[in-house]
């Protein structure tokens, strides 16, 4: 501990900064979280459950889960491959590759959605060919998965990459010397070493896939009860002046977001102990 107080440690300054930080967090973040649940449960628990159980909302939940079931494993595999290449090897253009991996973060989801339209839509590169062969990508499940893949591609790599770089390759070299195969080394040495970061990356990818709105709203076609994911369903209900239904659906996604944050807290606690 220091002998003298640090800058900002005098009681009035400290009180002012803490008060402002709490007030701002409560106003900007706490308020929105609270009103989701307040509005959803305003008509009562029975009405809340009934709102959730409408066929369109249930279908939206199913479609959202089905999207995550495909998109999350694919982007997890991609994140691991990308992190392995970047963390364990030196090569030219590495900086460029990292920038490319992180590129989807910087691009508006609307731009991503439009870009996919120009690949798989009728006015796009592959659209006419796909149409001829009776393959439906645009305004259907495949496009929803593709748009979700774009938006969430960087998350797993970004969570595990710094850790893998920091840990170096000594343990992997030892495993290989002992006769383990490359995949065995990845599976029993590398991944266990980054397991918490990997878990958080997967959970975050899942939350973002399930919550993606802009890109999916361009490519899904918004067909009620067919290609509406949960965030699109929230918009639809909201625009139908069905606020209670919209907020009931929103509690599902807010719940997933809260679980994601709890996972992060638990991981930080576990890491703090080890």
């Amino acid at each position: 501990m220091t002998s003298r107080p640090r800058v900002g440690d005098s009681a009035p300054v400290r009180l002012a900064i803490l008060g402002f930080a709490w007030a701002a967090a409560a106003f900007l973040i706490g308020g929105p979280l609270a009103i989701i649940f307040a509005e959803a449960f305003k008509p009562g628990v029975a009405a809340y459950l009934a709102n959730l159980a409408t066929p369109d909302t249930l279908h939206a939940i199913q479609l959202t889960v089905a999207t995550a079931l495909i998109a999350v494993p694919i982007n997890t595999a991609f994140g691991i491959a990308a992190a392995w290449a970047v963390a364990k090897f030196e090569f030219r253009g590495k900086g460029l590759l990292i920038a490319l991996i992180e590129l989807p973060f910087s691009i508006s989801p609307i731009v991503a959605g439009v870009a996919y339209l120009f690949v798989y839509g009728m006015q796009g590169w592959f659209g006419p060919w796909l149409q001829e062969h009776g393959i439906r990508v645009m305004f259907a499940y495949p496009a929803i998965v593709l748009a979700s893949l774009f938006v969430t591609a960087p998350f797993v790599a970004r969570e595990i990459l710094p850790l893998m770089q920091q840990q170096g390759s000594h343990e992997e070299e030892a495993a290989l010397t002992l006769g383990a195969s490359g995949f065995r080394t990845l599976w029993s040495v590398t991944l266990p070493n980054v397991r918490w970061a990997l878990l958080y990356g997967i959970v975050l990818t899942n939350a973002r896939v399930m919550g993606e709105f802009g890109a999916v709203s361009v490519v899904s076609g918004n067909i009620r009860g067919v290609t509406n994911t949960l965030p699109l369903q929230i918009e639809l209900l909201y625009q139908d002046y069905n606020a209670a239904g919209a907020f009931a659906a929103a509690t599902v996604l807010a719940g997933i977001a809260l679980v994601t944050i709890v996972v992060k807290l638990v991981i930080e606690k576990l890491e703090g102990k080890s």
């Binding site: 900002g8 308020g31 774009f150 992060k264």
Partner: protein, 273 residues
């Protein structure tokens, strides 16, 4: 250079490049190709049309306002989390992650409900003649919500790494707290602060889900660029949608370069000190 005998380099790099090509580069290339089909003159006419220019102005001004809000709020949060111990610190830290994890559409409906005339905040602001929902201020609030974590998470680790001996030295030399903040602490966190601001600004420029619920979406007044792209698509005006989306993509690349330049400068700065 590589002395590690680890296997799988070709496989991992090949998979990564193939995946990025199909998922990221192919769509972006098709977008730019579609826009280039317009020719330079028509492209320019579309993106400088009255409505498009108004949408870009609304987007950029709102993003600047949101970034300013986050400069102040984000710095205070980072300061509190990095330098103070207090009850509920974990909760405050977790709250900062909410905008990252909460879907933008959910944030959008929640903020709209809060700020609408009869909402919790709206009813309280109305007597003062302040309208946030369905007004330009609402766009800035929504953008501020989604981009809040960027400033906090950029500045917080740098503040945590600052050792107190520099501040003590300044104290010994007779500097007061205000002087130490402006000439010792702030210069040290400035590059990270700037990087956080530019990330927040870039994110705000592209934000869609949180904004469209609260904005009111009146052309020329509260219509953002991302929404105009969406509207042009619904009108089957694909060339216009491609042109405006390409302009947004170009803006995103500029912001990416700016952020990278700041981060490089930051890296050199921390290495030198």
């Amino acid at each position: 250079m590589s002395r590690t005998p680890l296997p799988g380099f070709r496989l991992a790099l090949g998979l990564t490049l193939a995946y990025l090509s199909v998922i990221v580069l192919l769509p972006l290339a098709s977008l730019v190709w579609q826009a280039s089909g317009l020719g330079a003159a028509r492209f320019w006419t579309v993106i400088t049309g009255d409505r498009a220019l108004a949408a870009f102005r609304v987007t950029i001004l709102s993003a600047l306002a949101a970034t300013a809000i986050n400069g102040i709020v984000g710095l205070a949060l980072a300061w509190a989390l990095a330098r103070y111990e207090f009850p509920g610190k974990r909760l405050l830290d977790a709250l900062v992650d909410v905008p990252f994890a909460l879907p933008t559409a959910v944030a959008g409906v929640a903020l709209t409900a809060l700020f609408s005339a009869n909402g919790w905040y709206g009813a309280w602001l109305a007597p003062y003649g302040i309208t946030i929902a369905y007004a330009p201020a609402g766009i800035a609030v929504a953008m501020a919500f989604t981009s809040l974590p960027f400033v906090v998470r950029s500045v917080q680790p740098v503040l945590e790494d600052l050792t107190d001996d520099v501040e003590e030295a300044a104290q010994t030399l007779g500097a007061g707290s205000a002087r130490i903040f402006t000439s010792v602490v702030f210069p040290a966190i400035f590059p990270a602060f700037l990087a956080g601001l530019s990330l927040a600004f870039a994110r705000s420029l592209g934000e869609f889900g949180a904004v469209i619920f609260i904005a009111g979406n009146q052309p020329f007044r509260t219509e953002i660029a991302a929404l105009l792209v969406f509207i042009r698509l619904e009108e089957y005006d694909y060339p216009a949608a491609a042109a405006i989306a390409t302009a947004m993509l170009a803006l995103a690349f500029v912001m990416l370069l700016v952020t990278n330049a700041i981060q490089l400068w930051h890296l050199r700065y921390t290495r030198a000190s």
